[in-house]
């Protein structure tokens, strides 16, 4: 980041030697990220945010698919992506079903592609709540069979698992791999056609991008990928342990695919528990965890992801392990968790659960 500010302060679009240096930094960052993603450097674009990348990818590809009106979006895509699709194709976005483990229904996807009126399909690489990693080879076989471009949201997976091998357009989020916020990445395959649905032509980041952020994103991804090789298996084993113990507790259901999943994330739902109260209880015991419950996120609608897999939409605990977490930390969490659950349930006057 400091190198980015020292050498990258100039406008990379100008001709001075400082500008050339700044441009070289951006190009180098693009190449490094392209290599990590398995993409072509000239087809990797920095955008102001992942949201902007979703918007531009969807608008640009949709515009190039003249005469086709509908966009397919899996039922568990991020709101940012689903909203961008609904903006580009009002009242013409179709949701693709997922199974209880969070995998896209290939049967439903294939059927939905039959109409011939589909401009693009969007399926995420991994889900940030369930941890489930999609079977993109099967998804891509279906989309390729219909000649429909596939947009893959890899904002929750890059930096945690190997990049996806099947996509026509891909969006990644540097902040998710330990890089800076305020920048997004969009990669396209050479065959992916698009038209500018905006005034700036082939400029994917109108007004320019921040050179230090691009450089920091590339450096962070290299560091993360090195650490992932060392730490990934350890994290995954810790998540296995949490999954096994939580699944044995009365009235607790562990979500997502137990094997095809992100190494560091697990969510489980607990009967007769207010998610916010349980989080507070765990926080008092020294554990900072998240929740997918509607009552916590402050909206009236329950989490679309949890609803789509048929899970309880309240009483959810999402554990995301960071690399500093030790086996002892996890063991202590698993000792405290049943007590925390009992405490919340007895306060709510919950019934006894037969185990």
């Amino acid at each position: 980041m400091r190198a980015g500010f020292a050498d990258g302060w100039a406008d990379p679009a100008r001709l001075s030697s400082e500008s050339r240096r700044a441009r070289a930094l951006v190009d180098g960052s693009r190449e490094a990220i392209a290599e990590a993603l398995g993409a072509r450097p000239e087809l990797v674009h920095f955008t102001p945010s992942p949201h902007a990348a979703f918007e531009r990818a969807i608008a640009g590809i949709h515009a190039a698919r003249r005469g086709r009106h509908r966009i397919l979006v899996s039922a568990i895509e991020r709101d940012a992506l689903a909203n961008a699709a609904a903006f580009v194709a009002p009242h013409a976005v179709d949701s693709v079903d997922i199974d209880p483990q969070g995998h896209v229904s290939i049967e439903h996807l294939t059927a939905a592609l039959q109409s011939g009126d589909v401009s693009l399909a969007a399926v995420q690489h991994a889900n940030q709540e369930l941890g489930t990693v999609q079977r993109l080879e099967d998804v891509a076989r279906a989309t390729q069979g219909s000649g429909v471009p596939l947009l893959v949201d890899a904002t929750s997976s890059i930096g945690h698992i190997d990049p996806p091998a099947y996509w026509d357009a891909l969006v990644a989020h540097p902040a998710d791999w330990g890089g800076p916020a305020g920048i997004g990445v969009l990669a396209l395959e050479p065959h992916t056609r698009w038209l500018p649905a905006w005034p700036e032509g082939d400029d994917w980041a109108p007004g320019g991008i921040c050179v230090p952020l691009a450089l920091a994103s590339a450096v962070a991804l290299q560091e993360r990928d090195e650490r992932r090789q060392r730490e990934g298996a350890r994290m995954s084993a810790l998540v296995d342990r949490i999954r096994a113990t939580a699944a044995g507790l009365a009235g607790v259901e562990v979500l997502g695919d137990p094997r095809e999943r992100l190494p560091h994330v697990v969510t489980f739902s607990c009967l007769y528990v207010d998610g916010e109260v349980l989080l507070g209880e765990l926080d008092q015991r020294g554990f900072a965890v998240g929740s997918g419950s509607a009552c916590v996120s402050g909206t009236l609608e329950p989490s679309r992801v949890l609803a789509a897999v048929g899970a309880l939409t309240h009483g959810n605990v999402r554990v995301a392990l960071h690399p500093g977490v030790t086996e002892q930390d996890v063991d202590r969490f698993l000792v405290e968790l049943p007590d925390a659950l009992d405490a919340v349930r007895s306060r709510l006057g919950a019934p006894h659960i037969a185990s």
């Binding site: 009235g251 259901e253 739902s269 009967l271 007769y272 528990v273 207010d274 109260v277 419950s293 509607a294 009552c295 009236l300 609608e301 329950p302 949890l306 609803a307 048929g310 899970a311 309880l312 939409t313 309240h314 009483g315 007895s346 306060r347 709510l348 006057g349 919950a350 019934p351 659960i353």
Partner: protein
């Protein structure tokens, strides 16, 4: 505050009346659990309390205004090995969700 009230309200014997659970003639209509105005997780806690000790095959209908109940009542049925029968219309804005008990 809310949890304290709940704990008191769920004392034995008085609970059904206090939560407005109306027992209809058993051979015709299901038991109604009125959870209108309650937010998660109270509707399914009320459902579970009402279901405790009832025989197999008993049907209970939860009335709820919390939209999460649409997902939570079927999830409760699945997790506690009962059957979710379905959602039916009500006169007002409430959801009506019916389950059938199974041991």
């Amino acid at each position: 505050m809310r949890s304290t009230q709940c704990a008191r309200a769920w004392a034995p014997r008085t609970s059904h009346r206090e939560y407005g659970i109306v027992t209809e003639p058993p051979e015709t209509a299901p038991i109604v659990v009125d959870a209108r105005g309650k937010t998660c997780p109270m509707p399914i806690i009320m459902l579970a309390k009402a279901a405790a000790g009832l025989p197999d095959g008993t049907e209970l209908t939860v009335l709820a205004t919390d939209l999460a109940a649409r997902y939570d009542v079927p999830a409760w049925a699945r997790m506690t090995h009962h059957d979710f029968v379905g959602e039916s219309k009500t006169d007002g804005e409430a959801l009506a969700l019916t389950v059938r008990l199974r041991s």
